[in-house]
C-alpha cells in the first residue's frame, strides 16, 4: 500500500485500474472528463491492458457498456449531470440485462439554467433505474467504492450494475491523501470477471433482453431485480467485511459520526460530510449533543441501518443537495418513509435544501440547521421545509438582476434612437 495525493477523479480512475477493467466506453463531460483522460493515458502507455472507445453520446456509451458486459468483459465508464440524464433510457435498459459493471457519476447541477457546480439532482434522477448507488464523501471512498462496486454488482446473488457517485469540484478536483491498494491485493479482492450465464459465444446461442407479453412476466422480472437489490443489502456486510480484512478500511452501509449519544443529528449525502463532521466536532466541544449520519448506500436503501442509527433521537435535520420540484428534498422523503411508524423514530424530521449547483453551505448554516431542529423538538412543532438562501446572496443576486435590467433598457434605448434616426432620414 502506498499513500498518494489524488483528486476524486484520479481516485475513480485508480479504482477502475485496480479492478482490472477490460473495457471503457467513454464520452467527455465536465467535471468527469479527467477520469477518462487518466484511463486513456494508462491504456496508451501500456499500463492498463484495456480498450477505450469514444462514443458519440452517453446514451450510446451506456449501451456499449451494457452490451460489452453482457458479452462477458469487465466494464467501467463515467459521466455526469446532463450525460447521466441523456443516458437514462439505457440505465434502465442495461440494468434489466443483469450484466454488472461500474459507472461513476460526478454530480453536477442539471439545466436549466445550465451550470457546472455540484448538485445531486442528476444522480437522484437515476435512483429508480436498477443501478445500485454508492455515495462517496472522500477520494479514498471513491477508489474503494469502485472496487467494492465491482465485487458487489458481480456477486451471483446481485448481478446488477453499480453507480458510484462523487461530488463535482468539491471532490472531483480536490486532492486528498489516498491509500492506494496493492494491485495484487485489489485483483484478489475483486476476482476475475465471471459473466455467469450472460454472455455471447458461437457454441451457446442465446437471446438476451427479449420482450415479454403482458404484465405478469414483466412484473416477475422487475421483482427479480428488486430482490437482487435487496440481496445486495444483505451481501454488503460480507463484501465490506472482506474489503476491511484486505485493506483495513471498514465501510458500514450508513456512516455515523458521534451519533451514539447524540440528541440531534444531521443527515446528508456525499462530500459535504467532511465539513459537517467539523461542525459536529465544534458543537460537541461546546457541549452540544449532536451527530452526523450519512448513507453510503442509497440503493439499496439501508432503511434498517438508518432506523437503528436514528432511534431515540429528538430531532433530525436533513440537508438535501437536490430538489424534487413540487415536493422538496428527496433524501428527506426517503428518510421519512423509512422512519414512519418505527419504534423510537425521531419526532422531528426537518427538511433543508441547500448547496444546489455548487452553492457553498457555510458551517454556520449547518450549525443553524441542527439548532432549528432542536428548537422544533423543544416546541413539539415540526418546522416548515426551508430552502437555504442568505440575505447577502439575495442582495448579490439583485445586483446581477439590476445589471441585466440596465443592459436591457440600454439596448431598448439604443433601438429607439436608431428608429428615431431612421424616421428622421
Amino acid at each position: 500500500m502506498t499513500r498518494v495525493l489524488l483528486t476524486g477523479n484520479a481516485a475513480a480512475a485508480w479504482g477502475a485500474r485496480l479492478a482490472g477493467v477490460d473495457y471503457v466506453p467513454a464520452f467527455p463531460i465536465t467535471p468527469q472528463t479527467e477520469i477518462l483522460e487518466t484511463l486513456g493515458a494508462w491504456i496508451e502507455g501500456g499500463e492498463l491492458r484495456a480498450r477505450m472507445v469514444m462514443l458519440e453520446s452517453e446514451h450510446s456509451m451506456v449501451t456499449a457498456a451494457g452490451a460489452a458486459a453482457a458479452t462477458g468483459v469487465r466494464v467501467f465508464t463515467a459521466t455526469s449531470s446532463q450525460g447521466l440524464l441523456y443516458a437514462l433510457e439505457m440505465l434502465y435498459t442495461v440494468a434489466g440485462w443483469r450484466a454488472p459493471f461500474v459507472l461513476v457519476n460526478v454530480s453536477r447541477g442539471l439545466a436549466a439554467p445550465i451550470t457546472l457546480g455540484s448538485d445531486h439532482g442528476d444522480v437522484l434522477a437515476a435512483r429508480d433505474c436498477g443501478f445500485l448507488q454508492l455515495h462517496a464523501a472522500s477520494a479514498q471512498e471513491v477508489l474503494d467504492f469502485v472496487l467494492l462496486g465491482a465485487r458487489l454488482g458481480e456477486d451471483a446473488r446481485v448481478r446488477l450494475p453499480v453507480l458510484v457517485n462523487l461530488d463535482g469540484f468539491t471532490l472531483s478536483f480536490t486532492r486528498e491523501p489516498v491509500a492506494l491498494p496493492e494491485a495484487v491485493e485489489a485483483a484478489r479482492f475483486v476476482g476475475p470477471f465471471d459473466p455467469g450465464t450472460v454472455r455471447f459465444r458461437a457454441s451457446r446461442p442465446i437471446s438476451q433482453a427479449v420482450a415479454v407479453l403482458g404484465g405478469s412476466p414483466y412484473s416477475y422480472f422487475r421483482y427479480e431485480m428488486q430482490r437482487a437489490a435487496e440481496a445486495a443489502l444483505l451481501a454488503w456486510p460480507e463484501v465490506a467485511g472482506a474489503f476491511a480484512n484486505a485493506f483495513g478500511r471498514r465501510y458500514e452501509a450508513v456512516a455515523t459520526h458521534r451519533c451514539e449519544d447524540a440528541e440531534v443529528v444531521l443527515c446528508l449525502l456525499g462530500a459535504l460530510a467532511t465539513q459537517a463532521e467539523g461542525v459536529v466536532d465544534q458543537l460537541r466541544a461546546e457541549g452540544r449533543r449532536v451527530g452526523l449520519v450519512r448513507p453510503r448506500l442509497l440503493r439499496p436503501f439501508p432503511a434498517e441501518a438508518l432506523r437503528a442509527a436514528l432511534a431515540g433521537k429528538r430531532a433530525v435535520a436533513v440537508l438535501d443537495q437536490d430538489l424534487s420540484l413540487g415536493l422538496g428534498g428527496v433524501l428527506h422523503g426517503e428518510l421519512a418513509a423509512a422512519l414512519y411508524g418505527a419504534a423510537g423514530a425521531p419526532p422531528v424530521l426537518a427538511s433543508f435544501v441547500g448547496g444546489l449547483g455548487g452553492r457553498d453551505v457555510a458551517g454556520t448554516e449547518l450549525a443553524a440547521m441542527l439548532e432549528a431542529a432542536a428548537r422544533a423538538a423543544d416546541a413539539g412543532v415540526p418546522p416548515a421545509p426551508r430552502l437555504l438562501y442568505t440575505e447577502t446572496e439575495l442582495r448579490e443576486l439583485r445586483k446581477l438582476q439590476a445589471i441585466a435590467l440596465g443592459e436591457r433598457h440600454e439596448l431598448a434605448r439604443g433601438e429607439r434612437s436608431e428608429l428615431a434616426r431612421g424616421e428622421g432620414a
Binding site: 473495457y23 450510446s60 453482457a70 468483459v73 455471447f200
Partner: protein
C-alpha cells in the same frame, strides 16, 4: 460479382435458419429480407436489434434465432454492436474465448431508427470503423406503430399522420448517399423480391470487414395497403419501375446491379397500394403522378449518362 456462389435461384440455401411463427405481419417484406440474409450469413451471428417491427421476434420464452440476439433501444443498436464486437475482440485477445467462438455482429433496424433517431449512432459507428453488418428494413414509415410518416416515407404517400389529399409532403431521404459519404467498407440496396441479388450482396459484405450497410426496401402489407400475397410482386414492381434502384457502393464507386430495361411506368407500382390510392381516385392527380415519374426518370438518366 463474378466470384459468387449465387448465380441462380437454385443456388440459394435450401434450409432456412430462422424459425417460423414469429409475430410479424403476414407478407412482411422486412422479415423476408432478414430471413434471406440470415440464411446466407449463418447462425454464428449476434443480431443487435433496434426498437421497431422486429422487437417482438424474440418474445419470452421463444426465439426464432439459431444464433444470438440482443434487443437494445431505438436509438443505439449500433452502439450495442460496438460493445459486443469490442468485448468479443477483447476476450479473444486475452485468451478468454477461443477464436472459433467468435460471432459476426449484425444490427437489425427499421427506417424509423436508421433514417432518424439512430442516425447519429450509425454515423458514429461508421466513423469508428466498427466491424459490423447493418440491415435496415425500410418500410417507409413508423410501421410498428401504424405507419406514421418517417424520413423514409416517399412523396405523396398517405400515412397515419398524412391522411389528406396530398399525402406526405416531404421527399424520401437518400440514406444510401449519406452512408456512402462516410466511405465505409460497403453499402448496398437490396429487396427480398430479388433474392439472388440480395444473397450476392450479403455474400460480398460477409467477405469484407468494417462497416457494411444493407438497405432493404420492405413492402409492408398493412402500412402500404396491399394483400400480403402480393408482397413479392410489389417488391418486383419497385425494382422494375425504377423506384427502388438495386446498387452497391465500394471504394468510392456506385454500381447498379440490376438496371430495369425497359422501366415499367411508376403508376404500375403505385396503383397496387392503398397509400397511393388518392392519386387515382376519385380523380387522377396528374401533376403528382407526373412529378413522381419525372423524378424516377431523372435518377436513371443520370445513372445512364
Amino acid at each position: 460479382m463474378s466470384d459468387t456462389a449465387y448465380r441462380r435461384m437454385q443456388d440459394l440455401p435450401s434450409t432456412h435458419l430462422l424459425g417460423t411463427g414469429t409475430s410479424t405481419c403476414a407478407g412482411c417484406g422486412g422479415l423476408h429480407a432478414f430471413r434471406e440474409l440470415y440464411d446466407v450469413l449463418g447462425d454464428k451471428t449476434v443480431v443487435v436489434n433496434a426498437a421497431g417491427c422486429m422487437t417482438l421476434l424474440a418474445t419470452y420464452p421463444f426465439t426464432p434465432f439459431r444464433g444470438s440476439w440482443l434487443y437494445t433501444s431505438m436509438a443505439s443498436a449500433p452502439a450495442g454492436a460496438q460493445g459486443v464486437r469490442d468485448a468479443l475482440d477483447l476476450l479473444i485477445e486475452k485468451g478468454r474465448l477461443p477464436r472459433e467462438e467468435d460471432l459476426r455482429v449484425v444490427v437489425l433496424t427499421g427506417d424509423g431508427a436508421a433514417y432518424g433517431m439512430g442516425l447519429a449512432a450509425t454515423s458514429a459507428a461508421i466513423d469508428r470503423g466498427l466491424d459490423f453488418l447493418y440491415l435496415c428494413y425500410d418500410n417507409e414509415g413508423y410501421g410498428n406503430t401504424g405507419q406514421q410518416s418517417s424520413a423514409a416515407t416517399p412523396h405523396a404517400a398517405r400515412t397515419a399522420t398524412n391522411g389528406g389529399p396530398r399525402g406526405y409532403p416531404g421527399y424520401k431521404k437518400d440514406l444510401f448517399a449519406i452512408w456512402a459519404a462516410h466511405r465505409p467498407s460497403y453499402v448496398a440496396t437490396v429487396i427480398a423480391a430479388e433474392p439472388v441479388d440480395l444473397a450476392r450482396k450479403v455474400e460480398q459484405a460477409a467477405r469484407l470487414t468494417g462497416p457494411r450497410l444493407l438497405l432493404a426496401l420492405a413492402p409492408c402489407p398493412p402500412g402500404w395497403g396491399f394483400d400480403p400475397q402480393d408482397a413479392v410482386e410489389i417488391g418486383r414492381l419497385a425494382v422494375k419501375s425504377g423506384v427502388w434502384p438495386l446498387k452497391e457502393w465500394r471504394d468510392g464507386r456506385v454500381v447498379h446491379t440490376k438496371t430495369p430495361r425497359p422501366r415499367a411506368p411508376v403508376e404500375e407500382y403505385l396503383r397496387r397500394q392503398q397509400r397511393f390510392a388518392h392519386l387515382f381516385e376519385p380523380a387522377r392527380d396528374e401533376a403528382t403522378l407526373a412529378e413522381i415519374q419525372r423524378r424516377v426518370d431523372a435518377y436513371w438518366e443520370e445513372v445512364e449518362a
